[in-house]
């Protein structure tokens, strides 16, 4: 991994006696796309505001490139922010908006003109110099907000739910745009979102947060495939989370039935949580399955069918391209690699919180 750029050191922050961040430690590397992911109130925006200088931590320090910038005001920090609601200056045209930071730094007219042209090209809005922000669509305004931030050549771009206000199609388009821009600019992106799909699509590293704590840090693949606790499993995509007992290494008792798995080191007869993704539950003829059950619900989702199967006293969520009508008896089989074993939460803070997105 490349060089460390930002280090958040034991950051705690509370508002009106309510703890928002509790001794948070986080390292961000150069040229990394880091996403802070979590439900509202998990502390992700506060973390970003502490990075940007808009909030001061109660304890702890922010180290940037080896320097302590905890007390540095936002206007002196070498990073720029793209705000959730764009925050364009409505009384200035697009060119003036983009030039704002450069004019403050007293850059030459030619330099500013070049930069405006470059930035508008980067965000695919060439020729918009003289338009007013109000006359642009939400997606275009968002692009301008990005252009306005990047012309200052920040080492880090902070993005606070920048796609939150856009419709689905535009959001997906912008996700690809953001990845392209990041690669072209070669700078670090710190991205805040509550949308797990956005996080999985764009990030190099995802930091899953809940109630002021970091739940898991890892690549999108590891977060999705190997969630460390029930909260992460539940927050990232649909999943079946079942209480189970680890009989011994590579053998787990789920709902009274023994399944082989690949996890080791949990001990003997230890209560655990098991995560099985709905697409990893294979439906077979009743006799071929390890568990037998009956299909209780069926919804067509486009790419696949979503079914609920009552088996072993648990309602399994199953995604499959094969149709099994309601009432049909089926067997359930799970590949040992697709059974993810997790320790039971030790504290309240780690406990799974049901969230609907």
């Amino acid at each position: 991994m490349s060089k460390e750029l930002i280090h958040l050191n034991n950051i705690s922050k509370s508002f009106d006696g309510q703890m928002v961040l509790d001794e948070l430690n986080l390292t961000i590397h150069e040229n990394e796309f880091v996403t802070l992911l979590g439900p509202s109130g998990c502390g992700k925006t506060t973390t970003l505001r502490i990075l940007g200088g808009f909030a001061t931590p109660d304890t702890g320090s922010v180290i940037f490139d080896g320097q302590d910038i905890t007390k540095l005001p936002p206007n002196l920090r070498p990073l720029n922010t793209v705000f959730q609601k764009y925050a364009l200056f409505t009384h200035m045209n697009i060119a003036e908006n983009i030039a704002f930071g450069l004019k403050i730094r007293k850059k030459s007219k030619d330099y500013i003109a070049d930069k405006i042209r470059y930035a508008l090209k980067l965000v695919n809005l060439e020729g918009y110099e003289n338009r007013m922000p109000d006359s642009l669509s939400g997606g275009q305004q968002q692009r301008i907000a990005i252009a306005r931030a990047i012309v200052n050549e920040p080492k880090v771009l902070l993005l606070d739910e920048p796609l939150g206000a856009l419709d689905l199609k535009l959001r997906q388009e912008m996700q690809y745009e953001l990845i392209r821009m990041k690669n072209e600019l070669g700078i670090t992106f710190v991205y805040v979102t509550h949308d797990q799909e956005e996080a999985l699509t764009m990030s190099d590293t995802i930091v899953v947060m809940n109630q002021g704590y970091i739940q898991q840090i890892g690549s999108p693949e590891s977060i999705y495939n190997e969630p460390e606790n029930a909260f992460v499993a539940d927050f990232i995509g649909d999943s079946n989370i079942i209480s189970a007992t680890m009989i011994e290494d590579k053998l787990v008792n789920i709902l009274g039935t023994r399944f082989t798995c690949v996890d080791t080191g949990f001990g003997h007869n230890k209560p655990v949580d098991v995560v099985i993704r709905p697409e990893d539950v294979e439906l077979t003829a009743p006799k071929e399955g390890i568990l037998q059950g009956v299909v209780s619900h069926l919804i067509f989702k486009g790419v696949h069918y979503e079914m609920e199967v009552m088996a072993g006293g648990f309602e399994w969520l199953v995604h499959s391209t094969a149709l099994h009508p309601v009432g049909q008896e089926v067997g359930i089989r799970i590949d040992p690699y697709n059974i993810q074993i997790m320790n039971k939460p030790e504290s309240e803070d780690e406990e799974a919180v049901a969230i609907d997105i």
Binding site: G53, N75, F83, K85, A87, F89, H91, G101, A149, N152
Partner: protein
């Protein structure tokens, strides 16, 4: 039929509302000295009005006080809004309530209390005391017109300016102030209007020998009504009317919203 009835009704309303002022305006162009008969159209009273030094001095005072007091009030009011915006919601609500009281308070009470205050502090009555009183009763109008603008501000724009390297002062003047400006302007115009047509408070806080137009008219009328006074009243009415139209035409029809909110 119903439409016709509606039109007649509204005509009657406007007739009752504006007949007195209409009469005054008509009489101001009446060449005859008595009110009883129409002696032909004339600008004579307007000409005489502008040859009367006392009245011109009163006009000068009025404009000076209106201008200085409304600019000062706009300044103080805007600063007050910035401060109140930073307060917790509870404190802000209380503060808003407190600033609203002087507007609802009877003018005569405000006038007499200001007079007593000036006496107890040993102020010399004159232009200065009128100016202070006008600033006092004008500030709430500015706050009332700037505060809604303040609340509409996207707090991120200020932060965005800081983020782009602006110091807090630069950020305020480049980004926040332009957004507040329409509110400040309409507050200023409203304060100007209020100051222009105030009589009661001025009456209690002016010294002997200093007059604004409204107090001048009052003294003149007590001595006996002269047609010049019709002309003067007409001019004041027209000026206030123009100012009110300006306030209402200012961006997004601010004043209307303000009155609805309260």
């Amino acid at each position: 039929m119903r439409n016709a009835a509606k039109k007649i009704y509204i005509t009657l309303i406007f007739l009752f509302l504006y007949a007195p002022i209409g009469t005054l305006m008509v009489l101001s162009f009446n060449a005859s000295r008595t009110r009883a008969k129409w002696g032909g159209f004339t600008f004579k009273w307007y000409v005489e009005l502008f040859q009367n030094d006392d009245i011109l001095r009163a006009l000068g005072n009025t404009l000076l006080i209106a201008l200085v007091s409304s600019i000062t009030a706009a300044f103080i009011g805007t600063i007050a809004c910035i401060a109140m915006n930073g307060m917790k919601k509870r404190t802000r609500t209380i503060m808003m309530g407190v600033t609203n009281i002087p507007m609802l308070n009877a003018d005569i009470v405000t006038g007499i209390s200001l007079m007593l205050l000036f006496i107890s502090f040993g102020f010399r009555f004159g232009l200065g005391t009128i100016l202070l009183s006008h600033i006092t009763f004008n500030i709430p109008y500015v706050i009332l017109s700037v505060m809604p603008r303040m609340k509409q501000l996207n707090p991120s724009t200020y932060e965005a300016a800081l983020d782009l390297g602006a110091s807090p002062v630069t950020a305020f003047f480049k980004v926040v102030f332009p957004d507040l400006l329409p509110g400040i302007l309409s507050g200023f115009l409203m304060a100007f209007t209020m100051s222009l047509d105030d009589f009661i408070i001025t009456h209690f806080t002016k010294g002997a020998g200093v007059d604004t137009l409204s107090t001048k008219i009052y003294t003149e009328v007590r001595k006996g009504i002269k047609p010049e006074m019709y002309a003067l009243s007409t001019i004041i009415f027209a000026t206030v009317l123009v100012l009110l139209i300006l306030v209402n035409l200012s961006p997004e029809n601010r004043s209307e919203k303000i009155f609805k909110e309260n």
